[in-house]
Symmetry: C2
Amino acid sequence: MSDTRTNAGIDNISSYRKMHVLADGPDRLIMCLSAGNLSMTQHVLGQLAEGLEPKAAGDHRRMIADQPSMFRAVQLVGEAVTHADAEIGAGLRAAEINGGVSLLVGGRIGGGPIRLFLVYDAGNFIECLPESPFLQIGERKYGKPILDRTMNYDTELEEAVKVGLLSFDSTIRSNLSVGLPIDIVVIPANASRPVIRRRIEADDPYFQNLSVRWSMMLNEARATIPDPPFMRMG
Amino acid sequence: MSDTRTNAGIDNISSYRKMHVLADGPDRLIMCLSAGNLSMTQHVLGQLAEGLEPKAAGDHRRMIADQPSMFRAVQLVGEAVTHADAEIGAGLRAAEINGGVSLLVGGRIGGGPIRLFLVYDAGNFIECLPESPFLQIGERKYGKPILDRTMNYDTELEEAVKVGLLSFDSTIRSNLSVGLPIDIVVIPANASRPVIRRRIEADDPYFQNLSVRWSMMLNEARATIPDPPFMRMG
């Protein structure tokens, strides 16, 4: 799940898709979500689309579509991040522009398990595992409490998507740099269930309803908690 | 309201009061809350306790207790921050230690209004005004959504303290660097109401109850929101 707001300063806000298809074929679906410097992100994606330099002369360029496992696919993404930094990182640092980028890379190859990774701007990465069954990048703190409270490895997909939207709703309210539309891709572990792709626009009735109801119920919940006893002032 | 957890790395966590009395006399009560580098904070507080250098030879050292207005008191705090940076900032930067500090300074002098300021690490400051009736420093993002949703200029003090505790509860759940006890000072605008000072310890029954109830009600609220319609998979 990703929002679409990009800014180069508060007076330069625009809408960019942050969810990208790295590979979509009969044997694989690999998605990438990006946060951080937009030029760096596009550099990484451009490089992955063209393929990375072959390791030996005469070999094919190295493509995500040819990687035999998710681990190898993510390694290639990490390598593309390292290359992008080598090519444009110094220029950005000289201009005192934050060139940091972080990526979520998730999907499945062949009959393998779905795997989700977070790639850091040094090209290193970690995998999402059952103990901490979600990963966030970008403006993540506002929306983290609701995820911490509710997400666990056994959370149903439907519930997880709903909670993800609640998390975005909180973030959107508190931070101008995050905004609708929200892109969603759901890849069920059960390969016989269809992949779901959805864009939630600003006028989406489900999201509007979710946002209003959540706000109302938070207010009701808050009202039922008694005032602090030490505040009973004479 | 401030927590008490300080860390110098994840393996070096300790408890320090972050709420400090700058002046407490018949004509004034001025509190200061701190976030950021602890040595910098203590340098600022130490300097304010001793008084800043007089502007002219033979004058008294400049004390918070002698300032005629909150504005002048906060200016003195800002000056102390600038001095602390001049004395130890370069050393911290050379060691690549973040010496940043931010302070909330609030209170009242004489019959003047209560005023609350946020002092940044360059010594500059802004005042809390009715349009945005709260200020946060430190690890502020996790707890901001609940404040954004509920706090306005007309919020009753009792309610504001309750919501402040809910904000800390969310932050404590999501971030190890924030923890109980929580210190609270409430200065009512109506000077005939008493000032309230309270420390919420880890075993405080009101806070425990608030935390459990809030968690339970959030779960109930979440459960009543329908699943996303696009998630109805065949």
